[in-house]
Subunit: 488 residues, 2 copies
Amino acid sequence: MIHKEQEKENESLTMDNLNPYILGVSDAVRGPTVVRAVEIEQQLKNNFNQFPFNRVIRANIGDPHASFNQSPITYIRQFVAGCTYPPLMDMSDFPIDIKQRVERLLNACSGKSLGSYTESQGIVTVREDIANYIECRDDYPANPNNIYLCNGATEGIRLVLKLLMNNNQNKPSGIMIPIPQYSLYSDTLSLYGAYQIRYYLDEDNNWALNLNELQRAFDEAKEYCIPRGIVIINPGNPTGQVLSSENIKMVIQFAYKHKLFILADEVYQENIYFTDSKFYSFKKIMMDLGLPYNQMQMASFHSASKGWHGECGSRGGYYELINLSKEVRIQVNKLVSASICSTAWGQVIMNAIINPPKKGEPSYELYEKERSDVLNRLKEKANLITDLFNSVEGVHCNRVMGSMYAFPRIDLPEKAIEYTKSLNMTPDTFYCFQLLEKTGICVVPGSGFKQQPNTYHFRITILSPTDEIKQIVDQFRTFHKSFLREWK
Amino acid sequence: MIHKEQEKENESLTMDNLNPYILGVSDAVRGPTVVRAVEIEQQLKNNFNQFPFNRVIRANIGDPHASFNQSPITYIRQFVAGCTYPPLMDMSDFPIDIKQRVERLLNACSGKSLGSYTESQGIVTVREDIANYIECRDDYPANPNNIYLCNGATEGIRLVLKLLMNNNQNKPSGIMIPIPQYSLYSDTLSLYGAYQIRYYLDEDNNWALNLNELQRAFDEAKEYCIPRGIVIINPGNPTGQVLSSENIKMVIQFAYKHKLFILADEVYQENIYFTDSKFYSFKKIMMDLGLPYNQMQMASFHSASKGWHGECGSRGGYYELINLSKEVRIQVNKLVSASICSTAWGQVIMNAIINPPKKGEPSYELYEKERSDVLNRLKEKANLITDLFNSVEGVHCNRVMGSMYAFPRIDLPEKAIEYTKSLNMTPDTFYCFQLLEKTGICVVPGSGFKQQPNTYHFRITILSPTDEIKQIVDQFRTFHKSFLREWK
Ligand SMILES: Cc1ncc(COP(=O)(O)O)c(C=O)c1O
Ligand SMILES: Cc1ncc(COP(=O)(O)O)c(C=O)c1O
């Protein structure tokens, strides 16, 4: 017993002395509904089925290979396997363009091995290919020295936010973030002790950004923080919107006026479904605007996790930093080199993605087929899911123009809302738990991304196979009706 | 011109408003001598040779595949290639045990693809294998739930240090770090605004830790910070020492007395060369000590980068967290899940390393041969380099017992020391620059790792081929003599 007390007394890490900022971190996308989903899956596995369904549908995370068994793209995997184990180039019947690419890539690695640390910013050849990709996309030059490979866009976003943290003045740094937003942003700002300047996306206007709302958020926050940057997620997560060039122009001009560093989260740039939508990068619009806007500082993030290939596990990603002064660049490079480098395998996968086989190369045809298959299915499903949700009474869903998600708004009965107060749970969380228990469909409550007060949403991926999507929405429709009935 | 001024005025990220903590980050291992080395390499490549040598010897970084073209271990790469591109299991003549391992690993991944995000802590099967590895190593149980995969030990170390940061009181958190040390620690603490409690390793006692010195450092620091943790690097970087079990016991008791969280950096645990040395993990000694010590909180770090295999580019790594309370664990897991997960490829490589082929399995023989070849060569070189350096006048080098480095002390002439003051450069940096310009040998000055005032060292890897090591030390001997002559 004495020992037991002594222990407690001698604990070096306790809830009392843990870094207090960690308490503010949420875990929206992998949070309590997902924990419950895993429990249920376990029970189903053990044949202990007291549920009215026989499998959990993981529609909570944008992870194409995971729950829906989308196959990896052959070209990407052959290239990576070849770089991993070069003797395959002799042993296998990989196409000749794969072999050439493997050779070129390995020649760019120290000791011709992915097992070496790379340059801190990333393998030069990979950065050159990325610069080339950006140039083709935007029609403006890109400099490989401005490109930084990272462990998922996540790491890059964290690092760039870190640059802007200057909390030693009498006010913390403030960053404007969209609401709803991908929770990485609010979590990282909590962890950094920064101020979240929350601006609402305009749901009635297809989740566009609104100048008055930006100005309101900025003005209200000025008292509490020093505004330093603005985050835009385009195409949107969880909202699925794709911003128009006019909207982007407005945001750039707003950022210029208020000296805000732009963080353009463009990880879904290849996920565009709606025929009237087109992806415009923030960089391109900035350049189009000419002086003085084309001199603004900004970061653009991209990832290997999304697109049609969905190589989430690789944690490949990059960011482009634009218009930093030489002095600041030196500091950034120092910070980057303190982490040595990002994973070489992730860099190679990122490379494969932004530098696909060209017409006439042996790998091209299969690649094109696999790519268009996935992309066409995604387009079909984006449209289907929008229409289906809008056909349910009490549900409104903006068109899924891009990314991987629908974010329908649900009208919840007052009685249910009242009841959840007693549970110390948000109404949408309660709703999503019920949905899971009754149907096996696992989605993320809107409160995980934040939302306008007194509105309720959930985020659901569009990744399930087409016929399953119909089933899912049918099950949802039945559930929603009975929920409304129950809480009338 | 107006535009130009406007720009400056409207810059959102400048040296004046950059996160001030970044200024404190160094870049020892990839710093100015390395930048110069790259310049020289470029000039040599362009046949513009005004140097008395024709290649740069990169002895600055512990990266086996890089400069010295050590081949990857066949077993590891076949396993990873198979997991990357499963059709290889039919196409190739990979041994059957590789195929079985690939199947087992992919079955543990969502959607049977490395392209899925893994569980935030890491793939369960990988964590089980790691727990098993630790159990075999220490003869004490290990729990897969205490294991966290990370992007290189680097990421894990940063995260654990983050847990201990509680700077909101009137004093910052303080962490005890060895001097000399791997600069990741001082850099991370600078970035976090924490206090570095520097304790000196005892060079006259084979770089062991000394109780009086620990106590001195602790007592002096108490005024300026709240001491929270202690870092030990064993085997040592840059020092190459391997701690005795008695020394470790002393440290654990010291940490217990002062409620310090133990961070045991054990990434070189497989790099033991000196026949009288043995690796003891901090966990094992803590458990041996019994109550109350076996209840202490600590983290142990391991990496795929080191050992004999040297898979640095994978950024595979893990840490084991011991004896955390359930509440704290929940917070840690939340923080970990905010980064989603570490690279699946890095996890697979870590898995291959800690779960090698067993006797009787088809891959075993080649694996054993490759392993013992590299390890025997490392042993030979560790001894050779120690003896060679000690044969140079004015140089003293402790025995390289483990890790990948020698850290010889050099007596520098007063005149040289005086001169470098005028250059605003540390004497050892000046010395290392001269060594590079005269011989092409690139090493890291001791000041990059910090050292006792008025002592001078450099760190050199033991990775070069054996006959090259003789040449290197010969060149060094000639250089050192002429340096002493020049500055007499
Ligand atoms: C908007 C957004 N940004 C960044 C990320 C992080 O992606 P990565 O896997 O590259 O870290 C995600 C992942 O879902 C995302 O949705
Ligand atoms: C002592 C020590 N710890 C940690 C690391 C980081 O290793 P990695 O991040 O590659 O796993 C290194 C790398 O050299 C090291 O020497």
